[in-house]
């Protein structure tokens, strides 16, 4: 039924036997899965299952006590936040983490901070190199703004935007880094069907046109099952299942722990 030719490559990111705890609380318990280049990989599970923590492990904000992370063939015990960002892992957040005092444009421009090379003295002088750099990146950012259809809120402080737009701006900020892997933490929470479809379209376009690998956390099973190539299920830190949407959907353990009967 898939009308697009999907280019799914080799494993780009592998997580092996990850365990993470805060004090006595075990958040992730021996979780292992891998992600292939160009696929849409979803993580589902009840609240408190450790899904967001998993993303935090992948981008180095949390450091697991056990296990290893292999990213692009390089195996390490933990990621470093800055290195993860620099090597092409970008993300959005469950509770929108935008810079509230800044405009949409400036927020998305921050996403390009790693690509801007002018030093502080050049920026203090501004005219010349810094200005040229600024304008180059502005062009890239404008492309993203067009892509996400948020032209008319370009100069609005994001704190004043409605929730759905904030979600888009956040996606824009992540895209500005031209990531290789994009981590999306509940991008459709609190949206209606129309908005969900818009967001799905963005995700599919990003995946198809830029070949970006996407790791998705989402509660809307309709979206997850339709969009993902493979789904991993977590439950209170343990890994319940891993497989194609159809396999997961029919897995009795998953139905009992998470999906319930209606799905």
């Amino acid at each position: 039924m898939d009308m697009y030719e999907r280019k799914i490559g080799d494993v780009i990111l592998a997580l092996d036997n990850i365990s993470l705890s805060f004090g006595a609380m075990k958040v992730l318990d021996d979780v292992s899965f891998d992600v292939r280049q160009g696929e849409i990989r979803s993580i589902i599970g009840p609240n408190g299952a450790g899904k967001s923590s998993m993303l935090n492990v992948i981008n180095g904000f949390y450091h697991p006590q056990q296990g290893s992370i292999t990213f692009r063939g390089e195996k390490r015990k933990e990621m470093d936040v800055h290195k993860a960002a620099a090597s092409g892992i970008a993300r959005t957040f469950q509770n929108i983490a935008l810079f509230k005092g800044m405009s949409t444009l400036d927020n998305i421009m921050t996403g390009r901070n790693l690509k801007m090379k002018c030093n502080i003295f050049q920026q203090a002088w501004y005219w010349g190199k810094a200005q040229k750099e600024e304008i180059e990146h502005r062009q890239k950012v404008e492309e993203i703004i067009d892509f996400l259809e948020i032209q008319n809120i370009r100069k609005t402080p994001v704190g004043r935007l409605p929730y759905g737009f904030q979600k888009r701006v956040e996606l824009g900020r992540a895209l500005a880094a031209e990531p290789e892997i994009l981590l999306l933490d509940e991008p459709m929470a609190g949206m209606n069907v129309e908005e969900k479809e818009d967001m799905s379209r963005f995700i599919l376009d990003i995946n198809d046109e830029f070949g970006t690998t996407i790791i998705l956390i989402e509660h809307d099973m309709g979206v997850v099952m339709d969009l993902s190539d493979r789904v991993v299920v977590l439950d209170y830190g343990r890994q319940l299942a891993d497989g194609s949407p159809d396999e997961v959907r029919s897995n009795q353990t998953v139905i009992d722990a998470y999906l319930g009967v209606s799905h």
Binding site: S52, N56, N95
Partner: protein, 330 residues
């Protein structure tokens, strides 16, 4: 109160340092005199003066804990309370009546602050509220002195400063210091119980966490703020009485707040026991440093030593010894 292990390590480390450094200084420098009884005398003197800092820090903690406001005006409140007390006493009221009347004034002050300032700044960022309290501090400093004059006034509690406690024939603590320590202990226990176990105390903590949510469950912010500022005013009155009888009631009382700030960050903004333990640590550290370190590096170090000491502690625990851990989630 749960004491984590690293707090104990930090405090033990500090105690060891506070013994080792003076001893070493005594051995190395011919300007510094060291023997054990003298050391203990200095240390205990320092601990007791630390309690006096704690009295002021407690007022800060109260308001921060209950409303998330860093109340810079606590020093001004101490001064204002002491000035009012002495002023009313000077008008001919007997001391006890003056104290009761001053308590009434502190309540009215709390009402005024709530009406005129806080109620108009609901839901503003912490820094705005902090600035507003600086405004209140300036106002109170000016108001108190306009009302009662700015000359130094004597406040006599009738507690002797005579030595009241001997140890080994050498160390002495006077009655006044013991009295101050007793007062502080009582206040900590009372406030601790108030916060942890009463309905109002719980509501205060809820307000500190989330103003809007507190409103939504029906906690009337207005009353809460009046209560907490009144209590902070009463604590300020106690501090004002103690400090005022020690150094006279004068403008300098307002600046003592600056001495209480390191105590506050060392103990943690939100912890009542933290204010006491912070006070003890700062008091002892400061006195020991003054006696055993200052001669080596040039005097006057009490200006900053407390701050540097607090900073050193923060390096290990950024939220202060007993402060609430910041819950960071994304």
């Amino acid at each position: 109160m749960r004491i984590e292990r690293d707090i104990i390590y930090i405090i033990l480390g500090f105690i060891v340092l506070m013994v080792v450094v003076p001893w070493t200084a005594g051995q190395l420098s011919d300007q510094v005199f060291f023997n054990w009884p003298f050391f203990f005398e200095v240390a205990i003197g320092g601990l007791l003066s630390g309690v006096m800092y704690s009295l002021i820090a407690l007022g800060f903690v109260l308001i921060f804990k209950a409303s998330g406001v860093f109340n810079f005006s606590q020093g001004a409140i101490v001064l204002f309370a002491a000035l009012t007390l002495v002023g009313l006493h000077g008008l001919g009221l007997p001391m006890w009546l003056a104290i009761v009347a001053t308590m009434g004034v502190m309540f009215l002050l709390a009402v005024a602050i709530e009406r005129l300032v806080l109620s108009k700044l609901v839901n503003q960022e912490p820094i705005i509220l902090f600035m507003a309290t600086i405004g209140i501090a300036y106002f109170l400093d000016g108001f108190g002195q306009t009302l009662w004059g700015s000359e130094v006034k004597v406040l006599n509690l009738g507690i002797s400063e005579a030595p009241g406690f001997y140890f080994d024939g050498q160390i002495l603590i006077n009655d006044f210091d013991l009295f101050a320590a007793g007062i502080a202990a009582v206040m900590v226990v009372v406030l601790g119980i108030f916060f942890q176990y009463t309905r109002i105390g719980r509501a205060l903590r809820a307000v500190a966490d989330d103003h809007q949510a507190a409103l939504s469950v029906g906690i009337p912010l207005k009353h809460i703020w009046i209560i907490v500022w009144t209590v902070a005013g009463l604590v300020g009155l106690v501090a004002g009485i103690m400090w005022g009888s020690k150094m006279g009631v004068q403008f300098a009382l307002s600046l003592i707040a600056l001495k209480a700030l390191p105590v506050l960050i060392l103990g943690g903004f939100t912890s009542v026991p933290g204010a006491i333990i912070g006070g003890l640590i700062i008091g002892a550290g400061e006195k020991l440093a003054e006696v055993f370190l200052a001669p080596m590096i040039g005097g006057g170090i009490e200006e900053w030593f407390a701050y540097m000491l607090a900073l050193a502690f923060l390096a290990f625990r950024p939220q202060g010894l007993f402060g609430e851990k910041i819950i960071e989630r994304v």
